[in-house]
Symmetry: C2
Subunit: 343 residues, 2 copies
DNA sequence: CTGAAAGCGCTAACAC
DNA sequence: GTGTTAGCGCTTTCAG
């Protein structure tokens, strides 16, 4: 894939060409292009005709140069393949488009790149007016983020300790909701299948789980650590299924792991929710089609993306950044949870 | 979300500022910024120091204006929320980044927009050197695509009849693989759960299914039409489960609908694959964690994105476009398929 | 090795 | 209503 810069780009008609063709000044063409009112109708028509004939399209690079803005926001992603990241990105792109901004993807293949001044600094060379960093659930927020100093930055993540503008779902509240739901159903032995050590989201959910258990005077069995994938859920689920004193419920930190856990329980022949209940987190699009339909904590990623974009745009406009925002979650009860077995 | 254009953008140090600070000409700064060789080491060091102090970042708008290129490719998406689209986009972004291009998202909220000359024409104003159109599985390729004339365009879709450069997985071959797999297992009554009428992918798969059945001298029951969602799979699955003469196998046009179909079969108490076999299409990340693990046709979306990007970049470089590409698929056999029941 | 001049395409500000 | 001028930040070209 060579990028021969010596190859001239396909020539496009410029404003001058149109002006010449229509027999007017470049300025008039500009006025027509920007649909300003002070152009005589017949002149406008003539110019429009010329634009059409020549296939004229305004050059946004020139516009950007003039205005000092790119009307584009950059989104740094580590791996889009996480459900939440994708939905958030989706919402960001839509919100940005509504505001007349485009969204530029800045994929960071190797997370450690972020620590390299050069690599991350280069983000600022991108034609963007601000940056949204959608933290991967698997990557720690790098300390070196200062490097973006100069460009407005919004982080979508759970680590409130970072000195940046954070938008996220209220993970703690969600985990509390899920845990309390199980407790209310009479479950006492509840195993938590958590995300990886490095993830702040995982940590938040884990801590909230532990806290809620404690508040109910319940002893939490050792927390199991997965990596968010369904495959890790299967492994951990089998581990649970092999224990001598099976729990009556499992709270998985995301739906994919919950799916894997249920898979392992089916293998073992356990009834869900008759023998064991399972709760997930995310409320994935397919959660209702899992077998059984999964009770899960709904995260409003669309809202997260929207708020993050709104926040960034207001920062770009030079306004003071509002305090960090936490989008509330809600529990969607389906068929994978029931009162604890009595045996 | 106002966009007050009168608010001046935050000032950044320009090449002039650096030049003044370092006591050299702007030209020299430019040379240093582009790491050209003909600068004396101490001059270079002085300039670099000034750049650092002032936090200088080259303005890509100006560069773009000079070079006539944006080093960015636009990706038009209708809805990212489809598995394939997301993975393809991911691969496009990575490939583009490797080639030094950024990826600009051009979300089209309302597909009918495409028919409006103005809306689609505006894509060309975007700061992109070419466009990849990832057709939604739910949207018909508009006839009006001619409107992009002027910008290199690659379409990721299955409609070979369009006069554009197409990259896609080999849907027909995949559907044949799935159908033949069931036939080889002795299934004779196979129901196909297809995607929506408007989708070319769905049509391709449906036709290949029908053709393969015919070639095996098997009569295909009426095809059921879903909308790709797991929810529609549940509805259709219940319909199948209610029939007086149940099929021995179902071939769903995507994994999500297969998940829904299996959900309905579980409800009915049917054993999978003991009583009925199910095959999906996509090989979703979680397919192996479904219950039972789903046999599915693997689509290499990563390769599709890569090839589409490579194709577009070569077109941007003014090279002749190679013929349309079809990426082969392969069948991943798991636990949801078994020999047909004999009863 | 370094600098000065010109111009990429566009638009704000000012003529007429 | 329309045209002219100037300049956004950078790089290519040509002089020194």
């Amino acid at each position: 894939m060579t990028n021969d810069l010596s190859t001239p780009p396909r020539s496009r008609a410029s404003i001058k060409d149109v002006a010449a063709h229509a027999g007017v000044s470049a300025q008039t063409v500009s006025r027509v292009a920007n649909s300003q009112s002070n152009v005589r109708p017949d002149t406008r028509d003539r110019v429009m005709a010329s634009m059409k004939v020549l296939g004229y399209r305004p050059n946004s690079a020139a516009r950007n140069l003039k205005s000092g803005r790119f009307r584009s926001i950059g989104v740094v992603t580590f791996n889009l393949t996480t459900l939440g990241n994708e939905r958030t990105l989706d919402a960001v792109a839509e919100s940005a488009a509504e505001a007349g901004y485009t969204t530029t993807l800045l994929p960071v293949l190797d997370p450690t790149q972020l620590d390299v001044a050069g690599a991350f600094g280069r983000l600022e060379e991108q034609a963007v007016d601000g940056i949204i960093l959608i933290m991967s659930a698997q990557v720690e927020a790098p300390e070196k983020l200062q490097l973006t100093a100069g460009l407005p930055l919004v982080i979508v993540d759970s680590d409130g300790s970072q000195p940046y503008n954070i938008v996220d779902t209220n993970q703690e509240q969600g985990a509390r909701l899920a845990t309390q739901h199980l407790i209310d159903l009479g479950h006492q032995k509840i195993v938590h299948v958590s995300g990886p050590e490095s993830s702040f989201s995982a940590k938040r959910r884990r801590e909230a789980f532990l806290h809620t258990m404690k508040a109910a005077n319940l002893q939490a069995p050792p927390v199991l650590l997965g990596d968010w994938t369904a495959a890790s859920g299967i492994v951990l689920g089998r581990q649970i299924a092999a224990s001598s004193q099976p729990p009556t419920a499992v709270f998985a930190a995301n739906d994919q792991m919950a799916l894997g856990v249920m898979h392992a329980f089916h293998e073992k022949g356990w009834q869900i929710p008759g023998y064991v209940s399972v709760v997930g987190f995310d409320d994935a699009e397919d959660a209702a089609a899992y077998w059984p339909a999964l009770t899960s904590v709904h995260q409003n990623f669309g809202e997260v993306g929207k708020r993050a974009t709104a926040l960034l745009l207001s920062m770009i406009d030079g306004q003071d950044a509002p305090p960090n925002e936490l989008i509330p979650t809600n529990l969607v009860v389906r068929d994978s949870t029931a009162p604890a077995r009595t045996s």
